[in-house]
Every structure is written in C-alpha cells, then in structure tokens.
C-alpha cells in the first residue's frame, strides 16, 4: 500500500506540471493586465511597474522563472495585494477555507448518510419521497441563490446570525456559509446512500445474516451500511473538489477571507501570480484527496487490494 501511495504521488508530478503550464499561459491570454484601470498611468510609469514585477521579460523567461519559483515553494508577489506575497495570502486564507470546507464535508457526509439510510429503510413511503424531493432540490438550486437567501432570512429578517464576515471565526460566523456549502453535497450523499443501501439490502449476504438470526440493527450497521457507504466514500474525492469550487462562491457572498475569494478577485484583477498560486495549490489538494479516498476505499472494500 505504501509503494502504491508513493507511486501515485510521483505520478502526480506531471499532472501538476501540466496544470501550472496551462494556468500560466491561459492567464496571459486574457486581455488586459494587472495594472490597467480607468485611470491610466503614463507610459514611463507603466514601464517602471512592468520592470518592478519582471513583466517586461520575454514570456518564456517569465514562465521558466515561475516554474523555478514553484519548485522552491516561492509563488511570487501578488500584483494587486502588494503588502503580501502569494504564499502569505494562501497561508492566511487556508485556515478559513479549511474550516468551512472541513465542517461542510464532514457534516454533509454524516447528514447525507443518515437521511439516505432513513429514506432507504422507509422506501416508497411519504417520508422517502419527501426526502428525495428535497435532495433533488438541494442538488438543483445553485449555491449563489441559496446563500444570499439564507443571509437575508437569518441575517437581516430574523437577525439570528451575522449576514457576512469572519469576525474572529466564532461559530456564529460559520453557520450560514457551512450550511450553504454543504447543502448540495448533503443531497448528493443522501441519494447515493439510499441507492447503495437498497441494493445491498437485497443481496445474498444480507439474507444470510438475517437467516443466522442476527438482530436487524446488527444486520444494518455491521453488514449493510459498510457496503452501502462505498459509493459515498468514492464520491468524497469529487465532493472535496465540489466544496473547493463551491467555496469560491460562498466566500465571495459571505465576505470570508479564504482562498476561494482570492481566486475570484485574482482572476478579475488579472493578478497572475495569485491566480496561478491558488490553481497550483488547489490542484495539489485535489490530487492528494483523490489518493486518500482511494486508500480509504481499499481499507473499506475487501475486494480492493493495492500491491
């Protein structure tokens, strides 16, 4: 298993290289530059700016310099947020994004699995139909609709929770963003769990377990759920990606100082280094999570073995 993990990690290097390369050249293809604004600067001053940020060098030289920087862990200065380097911005934003995303994904897995199991056990009842209708709505309604709605209802009208902002990261500031971020994932996990559980409950080894006279509770928790959750576990990789991209919208709407917000602002501002830094970081994170999920899968499913 260790050799497998190491081999996978090495395999990630070319993937990351492609990501860095694509991000670098696509950013440069976008019209407009980091120093454009309604108020143009005289040509000499723009030249000074380009020189200061080494944007006056040939594109390939810039690319080589950037690659060299990435290898040594230096993601360069931010063109827009001049008091911080890209590394500092990501370090500052990471705890915020991790906390929101972590709680959202754990919460989504737990809530989704519970609701999905209930629906499966009460299959074809009113409760099941209500839960699954809710789940479809959860998947279908986009985050950028749900989030402002939540903040309007719970922040402005009911005044139970802050509308936006991070404060010092108190739980009150976390509730709405986490809920908005987790909702689509809860819905998806619930549907996966329900489908998985219904299929497993029909299988032979469950019949055997029941025939042995095991109590229903043991059948469910010891045998059925373990198998039913396999699709959920394999979904956690893409879900992490979903949470990351979802956080881009959520952090913007709730004004949270996370990495996703840097990504959006960076792209709009043509802050080349900041966008590339976040892309490289996200890329690495997603590759890592997919690996973790695959390893977890091996631990859960006796049919999967890594040699």
């Amino acid at each position: 298993m260790l050799t497998y993990a190491v081999r996978r990690l090495f395999g990630a290097v070319p993937t990351l290289f492609v990501i860095v390369t694509l991000a670098f050249f696509m950013m440069r293809l976008a019209p407009g530059g980091p120093f454009d604004g309604e108020r143009m600067v005289p040509a000499e001053i723009e030249a000074n700016l380009l020189r200061a940020y080494e944007l006056d060098r040939p594109l390939l030289a810039q690319y080589a310099a950037y690659l060299g920087g990435v290898l040594t862990g230096d993601l360069g200065p931010s063109f827009k947020y001049k008091d911080f380097s890209v590394g500092e911005l990501i370090r500052n934003g990471l705890p915020v994004s991790l906390r929101i995303g972590g709680i959202a994904i754990v919460g989504a897995a737990l809530a989704g699995a519970t609701l999905g199991s209930i629906a499966a056990l009460r299959r074809n009842t009113v409760l099941d139909r209500a839960l699954m209708t809710g789940a479809i709505a959860g998947v279908a309604v986009p985050t950028f609709v749900v989030a402002p709605f939540l903040s309007l209802v719970f922040g402005v009208y009911l005044a139970w929770l802050p509308v936006a902002g991070w404060g010092d990261g108190q739980w009150r500031h976390l509730v709405l963003p986490v809920v908005a971020l987790a909702l689509p994932q809860v819905a998806y996990v619930a549907r996966l769990t329900r489908a998985g559980l219904i299929e497993i409950l029909r299988s032979d080894f469950i019949r055997t377990a029941r025939a042995k006279g095991l109590p229903e509770r043991a059948v469910l928790f010891r045998h059925a759920l373990r198998g039913a959750l396999l699709p959920v576990v394999s979904y956690l990789g893409p879900a992490t990606a979903g949470i990351l991209t979802g956080s881009v919208v959520i952090e913007q709407i709730f004004g949270l100082p996370g990495i996703g917000r840097h990504f959006v602002q960076g792209a709009l501002n043509r802050d080349y280094t900041l966008v590339m830094g976040v892309v490289v970081f996200y890329g690495a994170l997603i590759i890592l999570f997919n690996l973790v999920v695959d390893l977890l899968y091996g631990a859960l499913d006796p049919r999967v073995r890594y040699d």
């Binding site: 120093f35 600067v41 005289p42 000499e44 500052n92 509308v163 902002g165 004004g255 602002q265």
Partner: protein
C-alpha cells in the same frame, strides 16, 4: 450537603455572569466605527496605492502637509504655515512642533524629503508618481533620466521644508491632501523596507495607527495617542471591512454589522430613501459619466454634426429621474459644478427644451444623409454592470425612437473592456467615467490633451486645446487661468468628442448614530471628525 453544592453553583454562576456584565461594560466604553470600505485594500503603502479604498484608510493613518477638513477643503495639517515666493515657484512649509509619529518621535522635514523621493523613484514604480511631477526634476526622475536626490525638495532644518516647482501650479497645495504626498517615517522605512506597512512595523503620523490587516477581511486601526489632535478624536477603534459585494454590504448594514457603507446597490436606492431616510446619504461627487466617440473611425471622424445629433437626442432629465435614480445631475459639460476657482461650461444647446433639441437632432441627421431608408448603425461598448446596461438601453431606445438609429449594445468584462477602449479598438462609442483626483479643473482637462496617450478615450486631438492648457499651466493669475481652461472646455464640448450623460453622486448609507459624517464633493470621510451618538 446538596444545598451547599447548590449554593456554590449559584455563587459561581453569579461570578460568571458578573464578570460577563463587566466585560460588556468595558466593551461599550470603547467607541467603535465599522466602515464598509468597498474592494479589499490593495496596499497600505501610500506610494503604491491606486484606489479610493486604500486612500480612506491612509487618510486615517497619515497626515500630509495639508489635510482635508470635514467638508474636504484643504486645512493645515503637518504644516502649520507656509510662504510662497513671488514667482510662485518656491513653497516653504513650517511643520508644527507637536507633529509626531505613533512611536513618539517627531515628524521632520527629512521624512517628507525621503517619502517624496521614494514616490518619484522609478524603482518604487508608483502609479501616482505624477502627483509630484510639478516639482522640479520629478518627471525626469520617474523617467529614469535623473537620480532621486535631484528632486526639488529640501529639508532646511527639521521643521522647515522647501519645495521648488518647475512651473507655477495652482493646485499644488490641494494636491497635498492626496495620500501619495503624505510622509512615511524615514527611520521605519529604512529599518523594514517594503515591510514597513505590516502590522507591528507601520509607524503613522495621523489620528490612527495600524492594529490588524487581514487580507479580504478587514483593516483595524486604533487611536494614535501621539497625534497632535488626539484630544478631539472621538472614535477609539475603526474597522475598514472589505465589501466588494455591494448587495452583501447593504445587507450587513441593514443587519447592523456596519455603521457606514462604501456604496449601495442602485436598485435599493429608492427603497432606502423611502424606508431608511435617516441613514441614506447622498452628495454630488467630483466625477462625470460620458459616452466617447472613437474619432479615428468614420462616420464620426469627419462629421461633428452627426455626433451632435446623437448628443441632442438624449433626454438626460428622464435618464436621471427614471433610470439611474441616484440623485445624479444631468451633465451638459465635462467638469462638474463645485470645482475650485472654475466656472463649469455647458454645451451650446443646454438652454433649449428637449423638444427643440430633438427637432434639431432630426434635422442634423437628415443633413448627414441618415433617415428611415438609410438608418444609422451604432455599436456601443461598455463593461458589464446592471447600471451601465440600463442606461445604454434607455439611450438606445431614445435614439431609435427619435432618430431611427439602430444600436448594437456590446458588453465586455472589465479588464477586457479597458483593453479594448485603451487601444481605441471599439467601433463607435464607449462608456467612460472619470473621478477627479484633486479638486481642480486640470484633473479633468488633462485627459483630452493630444499627448496624454491611451487615457484620452476619444483620441481627441486639437492643437488649440493643447495650447490653451499649456498657457493655463504657467498662468499664475487664478482668474486668467480659469478663463483659459474654460475656453478649453468649451472647445472640447463644441467638438462633441464626448456626450456628457450625468455627473456622479455617491449614494451610500451611514447609520443615524454616526455623527459628523458630512457629504462633500470629494467624498472624503476622515474618521477623526466622526463621533458615535445615541
């Protein structure tokens, strides 16, 4: 036994509640102002900033030779007095003896010399270097032709600063209110370099000092005990929250999480005026919204009467009343009312009724050869934004109904739009908005000089216009200078290179308990003039 436990639990409870109440009392004693500050500040470095969000923070942190009063008029700041030589070229500033940095050391003339050299130094790559170009040698230094030490500024002694200009510059004093001309502490800058702006390193000479800077969240400032006017500063702590999402900002204000906002969603203005009249604030703003013709392209290039026809047919009263709804003033000129030492000029047809204008427009269109069987095709380019789109649709409808013009509305993302417009790659018309940097007609007229480069949105070229501005630039009689600039503005308007649409206002919210928040044309709001009432 059980009773004793109960008693003890009760005592502990009382203690906890008591200290809680005590803490709450202390929190109330601290006066806090929470400002929505628009997009996240780019930097606190006064020499590297470009936008207003940064400027608001820097105006609280630092103080220049002159400082904006509550109504944004220039007041003595670090300089308690100054003299100007007979030829208007040498300014001698006397610094106040109680001007101190937040570390308690005195603010000296040497700090100004150091800061100003840094601003114009090409290595700093300051956007606003041109703010000091009126100073002798400044422009040559920024262009890399002379070393920074040759800048025309000298510390005669610790409290006397002597500045030599290259030509008389009537707005030189007003420009001292702009953050790029403020001082930074020479000692702190030499010690920390570019990191002098980090919390813990930053030393400031204004009413506040830096406590926290969390990117994409907030900047927190606390009162500077060494500030010479500290006794009159009522707010102890001020938060500048990054609020680039204007809908979220407005909701945060409604929920009481912010005391003031940076701006507000246009579609909420009518609602706020109706439902929150005590909090809704609005004042004319030093800016103008125009449509610019691409004068490199036909039919515009050789047809000023056609340009005039389109300008005539826009019902600006209707536009500001029904579409923009932010109390904007219809614009018939380029330079807003309220400009110092200047009388704003108007298009020659401003005195006509809209019906007369429409009639004239139809005649001009017919003369140019356009009519129902040969409709004029116009492509209009703007950046994405609800407000821009609404205005464009209204104007396109007016042109269609009155003149039979077919308008193709094109929208581009902000940076793409800037790129297209700066390269003059748009076909017919493009949106353009301008906010003056300092209260002087020059900050508007400069844009249409033929040698200004990409900033001239219409690529307007007029030798007489350039000559008038050149003469105004060296004229030291303010009245004569105003006449020259007014003539230049008239030339620009009569050429119909641009269609003035409206002068800006700055609708925003400030809670009724925020006292001393006074509307002014520059939209400056220094926290030190603000107090928190009931």
């Amino acid at each position: 036994m059980r009773d004793i436990r109960k008693l003890m639990a009760g005592a502990v409870m009382a203690l906890v509640l008591g200290t809680g109440a005590l803490a709450a009392d202390q929190a109330r004693a601290e006066t806090v102002l929470r400002r929505g500050n628009g997009p996240d500040a780019e930097t606190l470095d006064i020499h590297k900033s470009t936008g207003m969000p940064d400027a608001y923070i820097q105006m609280d942190l630092y103080e220049g030779l002159l400082t904006p009063g509550p109504d944004a008029t220039p007041q003595p700041g670090v300089a308690e007095s100054w003299t100007v030589s007979g030829d208007d070229l040498v300014y001698t500033f006397t610094l106040r003896d109680d001007a101190k940095w937040s570390d308690g050391t005195p603010v000296t003339a040497e700090d100004f010399v150091h800061s100003w050299r840094r601003l114009v130094d090409p290595a700093t790559a300051a956007d606003y270097a041109r703010f000091l170009w009126p100073v002798a040698n400044a422009e040559a230094i920024t262009k890399g032709e002379k070393p920074p030490e040759t800048l025309g500024v000298r510390a005669v002694d610790a409290r006397t600063l002597e500045v030599t200009l290259r030509a008389p510059t009537p707005y030189f004093l007003a420009a001292q209110m702009h953050p790029s001309t403020y001082p930074i502490s020479k000692a702190a800058h030499e010690k920390f370099g570019a990191d002098h702006v980090k919390p813990g390193n930053l030393v400031s000479n204004g009413a506040y000092m830096l406590a926290e800077h969390v990117p994409q969240s907030h900047v927190k400032l606390v009162k500077n005990p060494h500030y010479h006017g500290a006794a009159d500063v009522a707010v102890d702590t001020v938060f500048f929250h990054a609020t680039e999402d204007i809908d979220a900002e407005f909701k945060r204000f409604r929920a009481g999480e912010l005391d003031t906002t940076y701006e507000m969603p246009p579609q909420q203005i009518a609602w706020a005026e109706e439902n929150m009249p005590d909090a809704f604030r609005n004042a004319p703003y030093f800016g103008t919204y125009v449509y610019a013709f691409n004068l490199n392209n036909e039919p515009w290039k050789s047809n000023p009467e056609l340009r005039k026809a389109l300008s005539l047919a826009i019902d600006r009263d209707l536009l500001v009343e029904k579409i923009t709804q932010g109390g904007e003033l219809p614009a018939y000129g380029w330079i807003p009312q309220g400009t110092n030492h200047y009388e704003s000029q108007s298009l020659d047809y401003a005195g006509m009724t809209q019906d007369e204008r429409d009639q004239l427009a139809r005649e001009l269109m017919a003369e140019a050869g356009y009519g129902p069987d040969n409709p004029l095709q116009v492509e209009y380019l703007s950046n994405a934004g609800e407000r821009h789109r609404k205005i464009a649709i209204a104007i396109a409808t007016m042109w269609k109904q009155k003149l039979g013009v077919d308008v193709d509305l094109r929208t581009e993302e902000w940076k793409v739009f800037l790129d297209t417009r700066d390269k003059n790659a748009y076909k017919d018309l493009a949106r353009f908005g301008w906010i003056g940097d300092y209260n002087d007609a020059n900050s508007f007229l400069d844009l249409f000089r033929s040698d200004i480069g990409v900033q001239n949105p219409a690529d307007f070229e007029d030798a007489e216009y350039d000559a008038l501005l050149k003469r105004a630039g060296v004229e030291d009689d303010l009245d004569k200078r105003a006449l020259l600039m007014q003539e230049a503005e008239r030339r620009l308007l009569e050429a119909h290179a641009i269609i003035p649409i409206h002068h800006y206002t700055r609708p925003h919210m400030a809670a009724p308990h925020v006292k001393g928040w006074i509307g002014n044309i520059m939209n400056y709001h220094l926290t030190r003039y603000v107090s928190i009432g009931e």
